[in-house]
Structure formats: C-alpha cells, structure tokens
Symmetry: C2
Subunit: 417 residues, 2 copies
C-alpha cells in the first residue's frame, strides 16, 4: 500500500526532540512490503493538522499519525482527525471507564482533561493502549485508512504492531522476508561497491543502515511468504557474507559484536579480561552490555596513567620509557600482564591517542595499538582512525573486540562429539 | 520568519536512517527566533520533491532542504529545485574546478556523475561546502528563500551555520538569547512541575530535551539582542537552578556530568579512580570521554567476578560471603580498596543487579549500591532503578558520578588567594 506518516507535535518542529517514530514506522512498513511516500511533521495546530491529513488522505492508501492524543489543551489531533474525516466527536463510555480505572490504579483522580481522551471521531474504530491512558483509533480520511496513535514510542510501537500492521496485512499486501547482517571494519562505500551485483542476481533489495561504527546490511525479499522466499533471501545473504568476509560480517539481527565474541568464548569455555588505556573502559562496557557476559567476562583494568600500567598490569617501566605508552611493545605487555593478573584465558589491550591533544611528531591523533593475549601467544595491530575523540575511542574499542574475536576463532574448539 | 524543512531521501522514507537533521535545524531556527511550521520528508522522486517544494514555497518565508545533492542518478534535488523555481540548470565552472581539485587531492579522477554536482538552477546563489564535494545553493521558490544543503550532517551543519542562519538574520528577525541547563536525577514530570511558574514570571520560554538519562532545560528569551535580554534570561535560569537544586543542575551548555565532576576535582587538585561491577566500565568511559580527563582520572578496575574484587581491590572474602557482592559493605570496601590500590584521592564504586537475570528474593533487578571514598571517609547510597539492563547500567553510572561530585564539592577548596 502507498502509505504516509504524520508526526504531530510542537516539540518536534521546534527540534526539542528527535522524531524516531517515523524511522521505526517507515522501516516496519517497508519490511512488510508497503511503500512509504511521505513523512510529514506539523505543530499542534488544529487547522494545519486537519489540512495535512486531508492532503495526505487524498494521495495515499494508509496514513499513520502519531502524537497529539494527550490530555492537555494543546493535544488537538483527535479533533483535527474528525474535521479531516468530515465527522463530529463522540465520547466512548467503555474507553472512559478504562481511563478512570487506570488513573485510580495509580492513585489519581480522573480530571476533565483525561475524559477528553475518550472522545473519538464518529464511526472510528478504537485501538486500545495497554501502556498509557490515550487510546488510538482508525478512521477514513479521503482514500486512506488513517490510524492515530500516541507519540510516546513505548505506547505507540505495541499498538502499531498489534493493530495497524495486521489491519494493513489483511488488505492483501505482498509478503516479505528479511535478514539483517551486522558488519564492522569496512567503510560504507566499500560495502556498497562489493555488493553492487547482489540485487540483480538474487532478486532482493539491499538496504544499509549505519549505527556508528557498524554498518547493517539488510537483505529484503518480497513475494509469497514461505520457504522459497526464505531460501532466496538466505542465498543472497550467504553471498553477502562471502563477498564481505566472516571477519566483517560478525552476526545477524540483534547480535552485537561483543555478544558474537562472547559466543566464541563460550563455545571454547574461555574467559576474557580487558586492559584499556585510550578506550577508557569502553571495551569492558561493550562486553558487559551483554546480559550473559558474567559467564565469560571476569573484569578489566583501565590504566590511564603510566603508574597504573606498571602497578596493575606489570608493564615494565623501561618499556614505557623506551617506547612510550602508545606503542606496540606496551600494548603487548598490557595484554600479557592482564592475562596473568586478571587470571583470564584471553586478554585484550588498547593504547592510543584519542585526541584532540596528545599527538607528537611520530604519533598522530588516531594512532592506536591493540594487542590480544591467548594461549597461542600475543598478537598486535597498529591502526589509525579518523574522527573526533569520541569516534576514535569507539572505533578502537570495536577494533579491539574484533581482534579478540579473530584470535579466539583461531583457537581450537573443544571436541563437541 | 515562517520556515519549513524538507528532507529528501528514499533511505529516510524507508526508515533506514533516522533523520536527525530536522531536529537540529528546527532547534537552531527556533533559537534564532524563527517559527518552523512544517518538516516534511519525501523519497528521491523528481515529481514529488518538486511538488513539495512548490507547496512549501507558497506558504513559508524560508525553506531549508537537505539531501539529494550527491553524484548518483537517484540524487535529483537540484533538478527538482530548478523545476520548482521555474528555471533551467546551468553548470558553474568555478564549482566544477573546486570539485575536480578536491577529487584529485584524494587521488581520484572526476567522473561525469561528480560534474553533475556543479549544476545549479539559473540565478541560484552557490553555497560552498568545505567538507564535501556537493556545494549547496539558494534559490527563490514561491514566496520563500529556499536553501539546499547536503544531507550528511557533518557537511550540512557548518554550511547552515555559515550561510543560512546569517542570510535569515539579515532579514531582520527578532533576536534571542538562550541558556541550556543540564540536569540529572529528577523525572521529567517533576522538573516540569517545579518550573511551572517560570515562563509567566520571567517572560521566557522553557524547552525540555531528554538525552537519557539527562534532562536539558532550555531557557529562551526573545527580544532586541543585548545585555537586557541576557539579564532577563540569566535571572530565569538562576531561578531554575534554585528550584531544582545545584545537585540536579550540574552544568550549562556542553558541560557533561563527568566534566562537571572533573572541574571540581581540578579545582581541588585531586585525582579519581573507579571500581565498577554492575556498570561494567561505563563510569570510566564517561570520565575518559572528557578530553582533559588525563589530568584527574588515573584509572579504574572493572571487577565483574568476585575473585577480582578480592584480587584487585582487596575486598575481604568474608564480606562477600556474608553480605553478597551486591551490598553496602562490599560497595564501601570496593571504594576504599580502589582509593588505596589505584593511589587516588577519590574513588567511586558500583555494585548492583543490572538484570535481566541475577535477582534474588531480597535483591531485585535495578538494586544498586554506590560508594565514594575521599579523605573525609567513605559514603554509600542504596538506589533502585527501573528499566532495561542498558538503562539500569547507565542510570547507575550517572548516579555514581553524581555521588562523587557531591562528595568532592563537600571537600574544602584550596585557598585560592
């Protein structure tokens, strides 16, 4: 179906918040085979909301409108929807009872402003909201089925998934199947270039989404749902993996790089520890973001000062004096020291110049030395990262986890037979 | 001026990326006293972009359009702008030379597709792009001054600041002055309620922006630029500080909570270290995000396992056995141990249950014990946080930094005379 999105809210047109609803709705509608043609945003202004709804309703089959269903006087979307639909408002006793019960459960008395949330355009289908007081509704505007949902994402998303998508599916859209591949380590333009032929060969659509520093590659196939469609998409995804390499494509779906490393550790019954200088705790934070990380992450040290590199990791003072803290020998000594002092089987170390200051003639901002120590010995990498302090730190942390993952993958797996 | 925003890009209406440009542009235009009435998004479709521009041009004084200026065949915004303006395209030799020189500097040969980026609507004013190949331009569309900028934020923002805002300022808008106060520790509804009277009393507009877990309060005054306007806004901001408290309002503008803590440490010539369990490195990562942190941050340990709490921080095993790792005595021992082992004057410790698993009958998910050790002794707090693992970890890290800041502020400042 040809769909349009409308976000209502003065806070949006003033830039006080970023509208993340539109991207969510657009992505989900696209995945389901609909075509989103427009995504508009207007202030809480009765005439504007009504006029925009009429305009969108004349050119689309579906509208998803979010925001402006709250209890306050500046929440005018319901009234605007009624105007655009050419009908009046009517209070729904059942919704009123639900709102009153909800308020009472939280120990509050229902105000007149809340009662307003039980008003709907005459003839509208009411969409229940299990996570808030404002129900949504569906009404026809022009040629479009228009759905009205609250603007709060945690209320909006479940309502969209429970009511809007199924309603639109019933209209008989094509099916679709999608695989999301997560990559790290190649620039977006290179990923693009390498995958140039895939769409034609496999009859799929590729989408790219950058979550710095990762790039997600979405492989989308459209057609009758079933094993044939899934096989077609899986074949395209396999070719993407082949073209980019298993080091670059570290996982699918929600699997983070840290969790992918965790899975490799778990398979081999290994533990990991971190020794961080320039990444300042980000490697540990990425690892511990994974809920299962206590099974393999023992701990780490952030040794920002040289004294702590010596005291906590046993890095020889002579090494620091001769090569400087940002050097391959120090990175190696940090990893080896952490492996021993933390009592872990795998240790990964970072030292570098995150900037903006700290550069020398031979050591520019962005220079990072990484090392990983395992039972197979210590491996090191010198890398140079562009960007701000933030970006250098984040790129270095991801590169460290990737180095650790590669090193762990090279270790033998226990006999699983 | 009455302004409209237009974001062009198929990746936007497919939800592959979140449009952050619109919020940035809306916020900056609002700050400068303009009124943003609409923010629309359309796919890279020549007819749609041209039609949308004409519609917006008929109802606004200014349009800022981003995206679709790239070299590929699906970048059609320039052609659409020419159509909407009712003029043809013309190649600009000076821009062509700049593009060629830029490509050569990066060791690449200019393709025909890049030459296209030197085409502009006849009569347009060209806006140079110091950070990319695609210049922008300004042209009249209907009653509006329409500005066209690339979609890449790091190219777009400097061009907007350098060309668009000054051009619109010259049109004689009202002046404005704004102070952004950063807060942590109160829910948005409480912040709202406490500040309810400020707008009326001080003739300012308050805006709220949530960057989890912070809430930013923007105090905006409009009027003739000058000291009187600044005094008015400053008085309102001072009252906001008074109503929320100095513990809650930790800074202004770009100052992070970690940097605010850093400033207090610097003033007293103190060093800090971290001892983290449930926050898994996030306290250290927040501290080291500040470029000047090496002056006061020595390092930290992430002791996820109990063995490392003992080995790295000297937490007595008996304490762990008696009270469990998530307890006030262990938090205190971690802070005291870190202060000694890391050789720092201030140490902050976290231990808690981030979830989703790990809860016991007496210790629910979200329970966090914090402690801070200074020359004045060890102070501890028990807190309970709602939300996902992510949210609990982040809230706990912020609360730890806040506890450290409060403790440091209570220490005497060296005599500055």
């Amino acid at each position: 179906m040809r769909a349009a999105l409308l976000s209502v809210g003065t806070e949006l047109v003033r830039g006080e918040i970023v509208d993340t609803n539109s991207a969510y709705l657009a992505a989900r509608l696209t995945e389901e085979g609909h075509e989103v043609l427009a995504a508009d945003t207007v202030a809480d202004d009765l005439d504007r909301v009504a006029a925009t709804l009429r305009r969108l309703g004349d050119a689309h089959d579906a509208i998803v409108c979010t925001g402006g269903l709250g209890p306050t006087t500046d929440d005018l979307t319901t009234l605007a929807a009624a105007r655009a639909a050419g009908v009046g408002l009517q209070r729904d006793p059942a919704s009123l009872a639900v709102i009153r019960a909800r308020m009472e459960r939280f120990g509050r008395v229902m105000a007149d402003s809340n009662a307003k949330q039980a008003d709907f355009p005459i003839g509208a289908t009411i969409l229940p909201n299990p996570h808030g007081t404002a129900p949504g509704f569906e009404v026809r505007v022009g040629t479009a089925r228009a759905f009205f949902l609250p603007g709060v994402p945690r209320e909006m998303k479940p309502m969209f998934e429970a009511h809007v998508l199924p309603a639109l599916r019933a209209e008989g859209t094509e099916g679709s199947f999608q695989i999301r591949l997560r990559t790290f380590g190649l620039p977006e333009s290179t990923v693009n270039d390498r995958l140039a032929g895939i769409e034609g060969t496999h009859g799929v659509v590729l989408g790219y989404r950058a979550h710095f520093p990762e790039i997600e590659v979405k492989v989308l196939g459209r057609g009758a749902p079933g094993p044939a469609l899934e096989r077609q998409v899986r074949a395209a995804a396999d070719e993407v993996r082949g073209l980019l390499g298993e080091e670059v494509v570290f996982g699918e779906g929600e699997l983070t790089l840290a969790a992918a490393l965790g899975a490799e550790l778990r398979t081999r019954d290994l533990t990991i520890g971190t020794a961080e200088s320039c990444t300042g705790g980000q490697c540990a934070a990425l690892l511990t973001a994974d809920a299962g990380s206590s099974a393999y992450f023992a701990g780490g040290v952030v040794c920002y000062s040289n004294q702590l590199k010596v005291a906590l990791l046993g890095v020889p003072e002579a090494l620091l004096a001769e090569h400087g803290a940002v050097s391959e020998p120090v990175a190696r000594a940090m990893a080896a020291g952490a492996r021993q002092r933390l009592g872990v089987r795998v240790a990964v170390a970072t030292t570098g110049i995150a900037g903006p200051s700290g550069a020398t003639e031979t050591k520019p901002v962005g220079l990072v030395h990484l090392a990983v120590a395992t039972s197979a010995g210590v491996d090191a990498r010198q890398l140079g990262f562009p960007g701000s302090r933030d970006q250098v730190q984040r790129l270095a942390a991801f590169a460290a986890l990737r180095l650790a993952r590669d090193a762990v993958r090279a270790l033998p797996r226990p006999d699983l037979s």
